[in-house]
C-alpha cells in the first residue's frame, strides 16, 4: 500500500512536468487546428429574407453614444421609446430608462430611476442633503447590444439573434417566454411583455428589449429616443462610416462602457461618465 502510494506520487510528480511540457503545445496546437478547421469548413449562417427590404445589414455597424455630460434627465427619451415601441408605461417593463447616479461624501453611490424616468426627476428628491453630494449624473440606460451577448447564448430556442449590423433582436414567433435571457442580461435590459401590452406582433409573454428602433434605423432614420432628446445626449450612427458622429466621438474622446470587466463588449458607449459614478 505504502509502496503504491509512493509510486503514484513519484510518477505523478515526474509526469506532471512532462505532461505540462507536452500538453501545453498540444493545447495550443490542437486549438489552432480546430480553429483552422472550423474556419475552413464552416458555412456562413444561412441567410433568410432580409429583415427589411432594401436594407443590407452587413453594410452597417451601428453604434450608440450616451453623453452623460449633456443629459438633463428630462425623460423625453423614455416616453418616446415607450410610445414608439408599445412598451408599457411603467418602471418594471421598459426598454430604456434613466438612472441618476449620485456619489455622496460618505463614498456611497445612490442610484435612482423613479418610474424609469418617464416624468423626469423634478419630483424625485435625493435622500441626502445637497451639501453631501459630491457628484451626480444622469445615466441613460438601454440594451448594450453586446458583441458577446449572454442573452443570445442562453436562449434555448434561438429566438434571440444578432443581425449582421450588430443589433440583437428577439424573434417573437420563436420566443417561448422562459425568461432565461432576462436573467442572463447583466444590464437588466430585458423584460417579458405583460399580458395586454401592445407589442410588435401582439404577443404577450415574449422577451422584449431595445432594438435601436430597428424598424426606424433600417429605413435610414434615427431611433426615437435619439430624435427626441432635447440636448443631443443620445447619439446613434454607423461605425463603418468614419465621419459619423459616433465614430468621431469614439475616435477622439475618452468613452467608457458599462461593466467592461464582464467582457460583453457593449456597443453603447458613455461619454463624460467618470469611473466613480459608473
Amino acid at each position: 500500500m505504502t509502496d503504491r502510494v509512493t509510486t503514484l506520487a513519484h510518477i505523478s510528480r515526474r509526469s506532471l512536468l512532462k505532461a505540462a511540457a507536452v500538453s501545453v503545445p498540444c493545447l495550443i496546437g490542437g486549438g489552432a487546428i480546430f480553429e483552422a478547421l472550423t474556419t475552413l469548413t464552416s458555412t456562413p449562417v444561412p441567410t433568410v429574407d432580409p429583415i427589411v427590404a432594401n436594407y443590407d445589414a452587413a453594410a452597417h455597424r451601428w453604434g450608440f453614444v450616451v453623453d452623460t455630460a449633456a443629459c438633463i434627465g428630462c425623460g423625453k427619451c423614455v416616453v418616446a421609446c415607450k410610445t414608439e415601441n408599445g412598451v408599457p408605461f411603467d418602471e418594471e417593463h421598459t426598454r430604456t430608462w434613466i438612472e441618476r447616479r449620485t456619489l455622496t461624501s460618505s463614498g456611497a453611490v445612490i442610484a435612482q430611476a423613479p418610474d424609469a424616468g418617464i416624468a423626469g426627476f423634478a419630483d424625485a428628491p435625493l435622500p441626502v442633503a445637497a451639501s453631501e453630494i459630491v457628484d451626480s449624473k444622469f445615466v441613460a440606460r438601454l440594451c448594450m447590444q453586446c458583441e458577446l451577448s449572454p442573452c443570445t447564448t442562453v436562449c434555448p430556442v434561438g429566438a434571440t439573434y444578432r443581425t449582421a449590423d450588430g443589433v440583437i433582436l428577439v424573434d417573437e414567433a420563436r420566443c417561448i417566454g422562459c425568461g432565461y435571457c432576462v436573467v442572463a442580461c447583466p444590464y437588466g435590459a430585458r423584460y417579458l411583455v405583460p399580458a395586454g401590452a401592445r407589442t410588435p406582433t401582439g404577443v404577450a409573454g415574449v422577451a422584449d428589449k431595445c432594438t435601436f428602433c430597428y424598424h426606424r434605423v433600417t429605413r435610414g432614420q434615427q431611433p426615437a429616443c435619439v430624435e427626441v432628446c432635447p440636448v443631443g445626449a443620445r447619439k446613434f450612427g454607423d461605425l463603418n462610416d468614419a465621419t459619423s458622429e459616433v465614430s468621431v466621438i469614439l475616435r477622439d474622446q475618452a468613452t467608457r462602457v458599462l461593466r467592461p470587466e464582464l467582457g460583453t463588449k457593449p456597443r453603447v458607449h458613455y461619454l463624460g461618465l467618470e469611473d466613480r459614478l459608473a
Binding site: 505532461a19 416624468a119 423626469g120 434561438g158 426606424r216
Partner: protein
C-alpha cells in the same frame, strides 16, 4: 494524458469560437413585423405647416427641439378638424420644469431655475412663451388674474417689474390700498 489535454484544449477553443455565433433563421412572422412596424416620432415636417411657432424659436435654444418633445407624437396629430388644426396637449406647467427645474445631476451650463425661488406661485407660462422660452409675456399679463400670485411675486426689488425704491415690501392688501387691479400703474389716492 496528452490526449485528454488536447481534447480539453480543443474544447476550450471550440467553446470560445462558438460563443455567441447564433444567427438563427428568422421566422416569416418576425421578418414581416419589422417591415410593418409604424413610426410615431418625427414622421412629418411639423415646422412646414406650423411656421409661426417655428419662427418663434428661430435662433433660440428651442429651435433644435423636436416638436414632439413637448407635443404629441406626430403620428397622433389630430389633423385638421373643422378647419382648425389642433395640436395637443395644451402647454403645461410640467413641460417646463421637467427640463428646467434645478436638480442635482443636471449639467451646470444648462438653463435651470430653482422652482421654489423663481417667482414662487406664478405659472411659468404666465411670463414665458414656451416657443421662445424667454420671458416675453409680462406686458400681456392682465390684472386681475384669477390665479394671481401675490403682488410681490413679480413686483419685488429684483422682480420682473420692480416697484419704485420708495416702496417697501408689503403684503397684498397694502399694495391694493393704493393700486387697483387692472390699472397696472399706481392710481391710488396718495
Amino acid at each position: 494524458m496528452t490526449v485528454v489535454a488536447t481534447v480539453l484544449g480543443a474544447g476550450a477553443f471550440a467553446a470560445s469560437s462558438f460563443y455567441d455565433q447564433y444567427g438563427t433563421p428568422r421566422t416569416p412572422v418576425s421578418v414581416r413585423s419589422w417591415q410593418l412596424r409604424p413610426e410615431t416620432y418625427a414622421t412629418s415636417d411639423c415646422r412646414g405647416c406650423h411656421g409661426e411657432a417655428a419662427a418663434a424659436t428661430n435662433g433660440l435654444a428651442h429651435a433644435r427641439l423636436l416638436c414632439e418633445a413637448c407635443h404629441v407624437p406626430s403620428v397622433d396629430h389630430p389633423g385638421p378638424v373643422a378647419g382648425v388644426v389642433q395640436m395637443l396637449p395644451a402647454p403645461n406647467e410640467s413641460d417646463c420644469v421637467t427640463c428646467h427645474a434645478s436638480l442635482p445631476g443636471r449639467p451646470a451650463g444648462f438653463a435651470q431655475v430653482a422652482v421654489d425661488a423663481h417667482y414662487a406661485g406664478a405659472e411659468c407660462l404666465s411670463c414665458h412663451d414656451p416657443h421662445t422660452s424667454t420671458a416675453t409675456k409680462p406686458p400681456e399679463v392682465t390684472h386681475p388674474l384669477a390665479h394671481l400670485p401675490t403682488c410681490a411675486t413679480c413686483h419685488a426689488p429684483l422682480g420682473l417689474k420692480s416697484y419704485p425704491v420708495n416702496h417697501d415690501p408689503a403684503p397684498d392688501n397694502v399694495c391694493l390700498s393704493c393700486h387697483r387691479l387692472g390699472a397696472g400703474v399706481g392710481v391710488g389716492s396718495q
